[in-house]
C-alpha cells in the first residue's frame, strides 16, 4: 500500500503538475504514433496497391497494368491518384503491349446482412462484363458468401451482355437477376438457390451501375491511355 500513498503524496492538487503530466504524455504519445505512421506508410501503401491490383487483374483477364481514373462531375474520366474518397474511380487495364483492354468499376448495394461492395470488369470492345470480384461482404458464411465462390455463379460474368442501343445512348437490355436455372438471355444473372437475396443483390447492383457507367465509358474508350496525363 505504501506505493499508493506515494502517488497521493506526489499529487497534492497542484494543477500545474497535472498540466505538465498531461502535456508530457500527450507529446510522447503523438511522437510514437507519428513515428509508427511514417515507418509503416510505405509498406501499407504497397500492400494496398497489390491487393487492389490483384482484384483488378481478376476482373479484367489478360491485363498486366492498371491505372486509376476518376470521374469528373461532367462524366469524363481523368487520371487520378485515387485518394479522394468522395470521387467515383475506375481502374483502366492494359495488356503487355500497353493496349487498353477494359475498365474495372466499383459498385455497391444493400445485401442480406450488410452492404456488398463489388468490382466488375467491362470490356467496351466486346460490350460485355468480363469479370466479377467481391471486395467486401458480410453475407452469411456458407450461404450468402457463395456469391464470391460459386463457380456456376461466377460463370455469369464471363460474357454478360451490356450492349448499347444502336444510337449508343443507353444499354439495350438492363442486366437483371433471374432464378437459378432460369437464364435464357445473355444479359441475365443467374442466381444461387440458398443465397437468393445475396445473388439477386449482385444482379441489381450490376444492373444499376452498368446502366450509368457503360455508356459513359463506351464513348470515352479511346481516352484511356497508359501514358497520357
Amino acid at each position: 500500500m505504501n506505493q499508493y500513498e506515494n502517488i497521493k503524496k506526489g499529487t497534492t492538487g497542484s494543477s500545474k503538475k497535472m498540466l505538465i503530466a498531461m502535456v508530457g504524455i500527450g507529446v510522447f504519445c503523438a511522437l510514437l504514433i507519428v513515428l509508427t505512421y511514417e515507418g509503416t506508410k510505405e509498406r501499407i501503401g504497397t500492400l494496398k496497391d497489390e491487393a487492389l491490383e490483384k482484384a483488378v487483374f481478376n476482373v479484367l483477364p489478360g491485363i498486366t497494368k492498371t491505372r486509376i481514373y476518376e470521374m469528373t462531375s461532367e462524366g469524363t474520366f481523368i487520371p487520378s491518384d485515387g485518394l479522394d474518397r468522395s470521387k467515383t474511380v475506375v481502374y483502366a487495364g492494359f495488356d503487355h503491349s500497353d493496349t487498353f483492354k477494359g475498365v474495372a468499376i466499383e459498385a455497391s448495394g444493400q445485401g442480406y446482412a450488410d452492404v456488398i461492395r463489388i468490382l466488375y470488369g467491362y470490356d467496351p470492345f466486346s460490350q460485355t462484363v468480363v469479370g466479377f470480384y467481391v471486395l467486401e461482404s458480410k453475407e452469411t458464411p456458407g450461404l450468402g458468401d457463395r456469391i464470391g465462390k460459386d463457380a456456376n455463379f461466377q460463370s455469369n460474368f464471363k460474357a454478360l451482355s451490356v450492349k448499347l442501343t444502336p444510337d449508343l445512348t443507353q444499354i439495350e437490355n438492363k442486366v437483371i437477376p433471374v432464378k437459378e436455372g432460369g437464364k435464357s438471355q445473355p444479359w441475365e444473372v443467374e442466381g444461387i438457390t440458398g443465397a437468393t437475396i445475396s445473388s439477386r443483390t449482385v444482379g441489381n447492383i450490376l444492373g444499376e451501375s452498368t446502366a450509368i457507367m457503360v455508356p459513359l465509358i463506351y464513348h470515352q474508350r479511346d481516352s484511356f491511355n497508359v501514358n497520357s496525363d
Binding site: 503523438a30 504514433i33 505512421y37 474518397r85 444493400q110 442480406y112 446482412a113 452492404v115
Partner: protein, 192 residues
C-alpha cells in the same frame, strides 16, 4: 460517398446488424445492467443519448482530420473528444435538470468508454455517412441496443424464478440466452 436511405440505415443498425447481438458491442453493460427492466430502459436511454452526441463529435473530428491530413490521430482524438464531451454534457444536465440527471446521470460516465460508443464512431466513418445519415445511424444503433437490453432484462427477470443448474448459473446462462436472442435477430436479415 454513401447513398443509403435513412430507413435502410435505421433498420440495419437497429435490427439486422444489432450492435449487441450481431457486432458484440456493449456486451459489458449488456451483461451488467440487464437484470431489471427499469435500469435497462434507463441505460438504453442514456446510451442512445451518448451515441447521438458522439456521432456528431466523430463527424466533426473526421472532417477536421481529413482537412489537416492526419488520419493517424483518428482513434486517439475520437476517444478523448467523446469522453470529454460527454463529461461536459453530464455537468450541463446536472445543472439544468436535476431530475434528468438522477434518471440518466449515474450511467453517463460508465458508458463513455463503452465499446458500442466508439464502435459507432468508427463504423460511421468507415461507411462514409454524412451528418444526417450518421445521426440516423446513431439513433438506430441506440434503439437496437435498448431493444436488446430490454428483451434480455425481461427474460432475466423470469429466469430468477427458474431452476437453473448450478454449473450454468451466472454468466453462462446469460450468454446462452444472448445466443438464442442473437439467433432470433438473424431472422431480420434481408430487411434492409
Amino acid at each position: 460517398m454513401n447513398t443509403e436511405s435513412y430507413w435502410s440505415i435505421f433498420i440495419n443498425a437497429s435490427l439486422v446488424n444489432n450492435f449487441v447481438l450481431a457486432y458484440f458491442l456493449g456486451i459489458c453493460p449488456f451483461m451488467g445492467v440487464s437484470g431489471k427492466m427499469e435500469t435497462a430502459s434507463k441505460m438504453g436511454g442514456a446510451v442512445t443519448f451518448v451515441m447521438l452526441i458522439s456521432s456528431v463529435c466523430a463527424y466533426g473530428i473526421h472532417a477536421l482530420l481529413v482537412a489537416i491530413n492526419a488520419p493517424f490521430l483518428q482513434l486517439i482524438s475520437y476517444i478523448v473528444v467523446i469522453a470529454s464531451t460527454v463529461q461536459l454534457v453530464e455537468m450541463f444536465i446536472k445543472k439544468m435538470s436535476p431530475a434528468l440527471f438522477r434518471a440518466l446521470g449515474i450511467f453517463l460516465p460508465l458508458i463513455t468508454t463503452n465499446c458500442a460508443i466508439l464502435g459507432l464512431a468508427l463504423f460511421q466513418t468507415n461507411k462514409g455517412y454524412d451528418l444526417s445519415q450518421s445521426l440516423v445511424y446513431a439513433l438506430g444503433a441506440g434503439a437496437g441496443f435498448t431493444l436488446a437490453l430490454l428483451l434480455m432484462a425481461g427474460i432475466r427477470e423470469q429466469l430468477e424464478f427458474a431452476e437453473v443448474p448450478n454449473v450454468v448459473k451466472g454468466t453462462a446462462i446469460t450468454l446462452l440466452v444472448a445466443g438464442i436472442l442473437s439467433l432470433t435477430f438473424m431472422g431480420f436479415s434481408g430487411l434492409g
